[in-house]
C-alpha cells in the first residue's frame, strides 16, 4: 500500500519536473495555485479520473465542452469507426461530411441560422464571425460589452476584458466596449459604421452576469436599425448549458451569428463553428475560400459532430440542465448565505454557475480545497474572484447533492484554515 503511494508520488513528481522543463515552471505553479495539480487520465459520466484512479466531479468540463457527459462510449465509437473510413480530407474540397453536418446543424439551430463555417479553436470561430460581419457590411467598427471573454486569437482577444490583452501591443483596431446591460450605451455606440455587436448572453468568466430579456430584445432591434450584425458567443452557453438549446432561446432573441464551441462534438473532437443567416452567407458566395482553415470541417470531426447532434436531439440535455440547475442553484444559494464572510453571491443559468468569493485569494483557495472535497473547478478569467461551476449536463439528483455537499465542505475547510 505504502510503496504504491510512494511510487505514485515519485512518478507524479518526476512527471511534474518533466512538465516544468518542457512547458514552464510558471505553468506548474499555476496549476498548483489553481487547484488543477493532477494528471488527468480521463473521465466518465460526471467525473474526471486522475492518474491514480481518484475520481472528482468535473465542474470544469474544459469550459463547457462535455455537455453530453464525459467519455461518451457512443461518440468514441463513432470517432474510431470514422477514422477507419475516412480522414480529414482536403480542406478546400467539398465533402459529404461537411455537407451533412451543415444540414444537421441547420436542422438543430433556429431556422434563420441555416448556414455554417467550421473552425478549430473558439477564438478562430469568433474571429471568423467578426470577419464575416466586417466583410458583409463593408464596415469596420466592432462593439462589444465589458466583462466578456471570447478566446486567445486576434479579434477575440481584442474584445476580451482581461489583462492579458495588453501584453502584446496594440490589437485589432476599431473595437470598443460599452457597459453590459446598458441599452442607452449600446444605442449611442451603434451607428452606420458598426459592423457588429458582440456579446455573451451569460458572462461565464465574469460571475455569470446576465441581463434582462429586454436588453437582448433591444440589442436585436438596435442592430437591425443600424444594419449591424448581432454576434452571440455560445461557446460556453450553447448546446443546453443554460437550460435551453442555446442561451438566446432562454432570452428569446435570435442573433445573426452564433459562435459554437467544442460541445458541438460533445468534447470528442476539436471543432468549433459559426452558424449564421442565409443573408450573411451571400458573402461566402461572393468570396469563396476567403476564410480558410485546414482542420475546419475535418471529415472525421464532421461525423462525430453529426452523431453528437443526434444525441442532443435524442437526450435533450437542456431539460435536465434546467431541472438540475434549479435544484443546484437552490442548494448553493442556501450554502452561500451560511458563509457571508467568504461568499459574496451566487449567480447562474441552467448548469452554468458562478460563486463570487470575497477576493481572488479566496477564489484560488476555493479551487485548491475543492480537490480535497472531490471536485474540480476553475476561476473566472475576467472576474478572478469568481469560481465557475459547469458540470456535465447529464448529472443526477445524487450528483447535485454531492456537488452541493462538496461545495459546503470546501467552504467549511476554508473557514477552519
Amino acid at each position: 500500500m505504502n510503496t504504491s503511494i510512494n511510487k505514485n508520488i515519485g512518478e507524479w513528481e518526476s512527471l511534474l519536473r518533466d512538465a516544468a522543463s518542457v512547458f514552464s515552471k510558471g505553468l506548474i505553479e499555476r496549476i498548483k495555485s489553481e487547484g488543477l495539480a493532477m494528471l488527468e487520465k480521463g473521465g466518465h459520466g460526471s467525473v474526471l479520473v486522475d492518474s491514480t484512479g481518484k475520481e472528482y466531479i468535473d465542474c470544469f468540463t474544459s469550459a463547457g465542452s462535455f455537455n453530453l457527459g464525459r467519455g461518451r462510449a457512443d461518440l468514441l465509437r463513432v470517432l474510431r469507426e470514422s477514422a477507419r473510413q475516412t480522414d480529414q480530407g482536403n480542406f478546400i474540397a467539398i465533402s459529404e461530411e461537411k455537407a451533412m453536418l451543415a444540414q444537421r446543424l441547420a436542422s438543430f439551430m433556429p431556422p434563420a441560422l441555416e448556414c455554417a463555417l467550421f473552425t478549430v479553436v473558439r477564438g478562430e470561430a469568433m474571429d471568423a464571425a467578426c470577419k464575416l460581419a466586417r466583410g458583409f457590411t463593408g464596415r469596420s467598427e466592432i462593439i462589444t460589452v465589458d466583462g466578456g471573454w471570447y478566446g486567445h486569437t486576434g479579434f477575440s482577444l481584442g474584445m476580451s476584458d482581461c489583462c492579458e490583452r495588453d501584453l502584446f501591443g496594440q490589437g485589432i483596431p476599431k473595437i470598443t466596449a460599452v457597459p453590459f446591460g446598458d441599452v442607452d450605451a449600446a444605442r449611442r455606440a451603434l451607428t452606420k459604421n458598426t459592423a457588429a455587436f458582440v456579446l455573451e448572453t451569460v458572462q461565464a468568466e465574469n460571475g455569470c452576469r446576465y441581463a434582462e430579456e429586454e436588453y437582448y430584445a433591444s440589442l436585436r432591434r438596435l442592430c437591425d436599425e443600424a444594419g449591424a450584425i448581432l454576434i452571440v458567443d455560445e461557446s460556453q452557453t450553447g448546446f443546453g448549458r443554460t437550460g435551453y438549446r442555446f442561451s438566446f432561446d432562454c432570452f428569446k432573441f435570435i442573433p445573426d451569428i452564433a459562435v459554437l464551441g467544442e460541445a458541438i462534438t460533445g468534447g470528442m473532437f476539436p471543432m468549433t463553428a459559426i452558424a449564421f443567416t442565409g443573408r450573411l452567407k451571400s458573402f461566402f458566395d461572393e468570396h469563396p475560400l476567403i476564410h480558410l482553415c485546414t482542420f475546419g470541417g475535418h471529415d472525421v470531426g464532421c461525423r462525430v459532430a453529426v452523431s453528437a447532434i443526434d444525441l442532443y436531439v435524442a437526450e435533450r440535455p437542456w431539460e435536465n440542465a434546467r431541472r438540475m440547475g434549479g435544484l443546484l442553484f437552490e442548494r448553493l444559494d442556501g450554502i452561500s448565505t451560511r458563509y457571508p464572510g467568504m461568499v459574496c453571491g451566487i449567480e447562474g443559468k441552467g448548469l452554468l454557475f458562478s460563486i463570487t468569493m470575497k477576493d481572488e485569494v479566496n477564489a484560488r483557495r476555493f479551487c485548491v480545497e475543492a480537490g480535497g472535497s472531490g471536485f474540480v473547478c476553475a476561476r473566472g478569467r475576467v472576474n478572478g474572484s469568481s469560481v465557475v461551476l459547469r458540470p456535465v449536463l447529464t448529472i443526477s439528483e445524487d450528483d447535485v447533492r454531492m456537488i452541493a455537499e462538496a461545495v459546503e465542505n470546501t467552504l467549511k475547510t476554508m473557514n477552519k484554515g
Binding site: 505553468l27 480522414d87 455537407a99 478549430v120 476539436p270 468549433t272 461566402f284 469563396p288 485546414t294
Partner: protein
Amino acid sequence: MKKKISAGILRLNKQVFKLFGKHISKNQIRFLAAGHLDILESERSGIGFEDRTSGRQFIDAFSSAGCFNVGRMNGEVIKALDDPDISDMGNYMVLSRNKIEFAKKLAAVSPGDLNRVVLTGSGADSIECALKLALGATGRKSIVSMVNAYHGHSGFSLSAGGKDYYKQLFLPLKPGFIYVPFGDLDAMRKAVSRDTAAIILEPVQGEGGIHVGSDDYLRGLRSLCDELGIMLIFDEIQTGFGRTGRLFYSEYSGVVPDIMTLAKSISGGVYPNGAVVYRDIDILNGFVDAHPGFHDSFGGGSEIGCIVSSKVIDYLVDNVVWENAGRMGDKFRKGLDRLMEKNPKIIREIRGKGLMLGVEYLHEFMGVLMADNLAKEGVFAAYSGNAPQVMRFMIPITAVERDIDSILLKIEHAVKGMRFYLALMLPLARVMIFRNILNNVNVLIAVNNFLRKLHLA
C-alpha cells in the same frame, strides 16, 4: 482503374453538392469546378483517393497543403485511437501523462535548444501564439513578415499575411506589421530596428508559390536577429515533419529559430493538433513563467490529439520518412525539369525542396487549365486563387518510386492536353488586353466551367 458507380451514390453526390451550396458556399463549388477540383474523395489511402463520381483513382498532389506526411489513413496512426484509456479530449489546462509525453517527444526531435512547447489546435492558433510570445517577451511593437506570406486566417495570423487579397475585406487588422520581399536580406536590414519584436517567415513559402529560403538567407536573418535582439519565427506548418527532406527545413541551414510553429501533418490527417516550440532562453522562459496562461488553446493539445501526434512522430522517426521525401523529391524534381525543357512555352520554372515542389506556368490562366487537365489524368493539384500560375505538388511523402513515375507520366499527359487550349489562347495572350482578360480569375472560372461542360457534352 475506373470503378462503376451505382445510381444511388450518384444521387447522393448530387445531394451533397446541393447541401454544400445551400449551407456553406455555392460559388466555392463553381470555383473548384473550374479547375476540376469539385471532386468527392472516397477510399482514401496511401498517396491518393478515389473520385466518388467518376470512380477514377486520384493521386493527391495537394495533401490538404501538406498534411499527409504519414500517408492518407495510415493504419498505425489510426490504431493509436484504440488506446483503451481514451475517454474524450480531456480538460485543457489540466496536465496528463500523454500531454507531457507528446511535448517531450516533440522537444526531443526539434532542432537545437527548441526545448519548450505550447500546445495549440491549428496552424493559425500556433501563429497567434508565436506572435504573442515574441511581442510579449520583447515588449516591442513591430513585426516583419514577408510579401506573399501565408500564416492563416485568424486575427493576428491574418495580420501577418502578406497577401492583400485575403485581408482587404476585413481591415483594419493589427498594426505594426512590415512586409519585405522574401529572400531579400538588404530589404530586411532596412526594415528591422531595435523596435522589431520578430521576423516571421515560412522558410519555404508555400501558398505564396513555393519560394525556397536559401541557407545564406536564413543565416543572414539569424545573425540580424542576434544583433538586434529580435525573435526569429519559422513557420514550419507546411515544411515541418519531413516534407522538405529533413524533419524540419531549418536543419538544412543549421539555423535554429527562436520560435517554430507547427500544425497540419502533426495531426496525421486523423485528429487536429498543433504546437509552438521555442528556445530555452531567458527572455522567452521569463515571459511564459510570468504569464503561463498567455495562450490557452481550448481545443489544442487535447488528450486524443497528443496520443495521435506522438504516434505520428514515432512513425516518421521509425521510418525516417524525411529521407524518403528527399529521395523521391529529387526524382520528381528531375522529371519535372525534363518536362520544362520540353515545354518552354508552358512551364516557366520548377522550384522547391524535397516533396514540396512548385511548377510555375508562363501565364496565370494556365493554372486553372492545368488543374483541369491533371484531374482528367487522375491528379488532384490545386492552383491558388490569387497566384493561379503556380501549382503546388505536395504528394504524401510516403510515396515510392513507382508513384513518382506514375505522377510524372500523368503530368506529361496533362501538359500534352494543354496544347489544344493553347492553340486557342496563346495568340490571344500575346495581346495585352486579352491577356488581362484571360488572367482574370472570374473570367477564367466562367470560361473553364463552360469548356468543361462542352467537354462533358
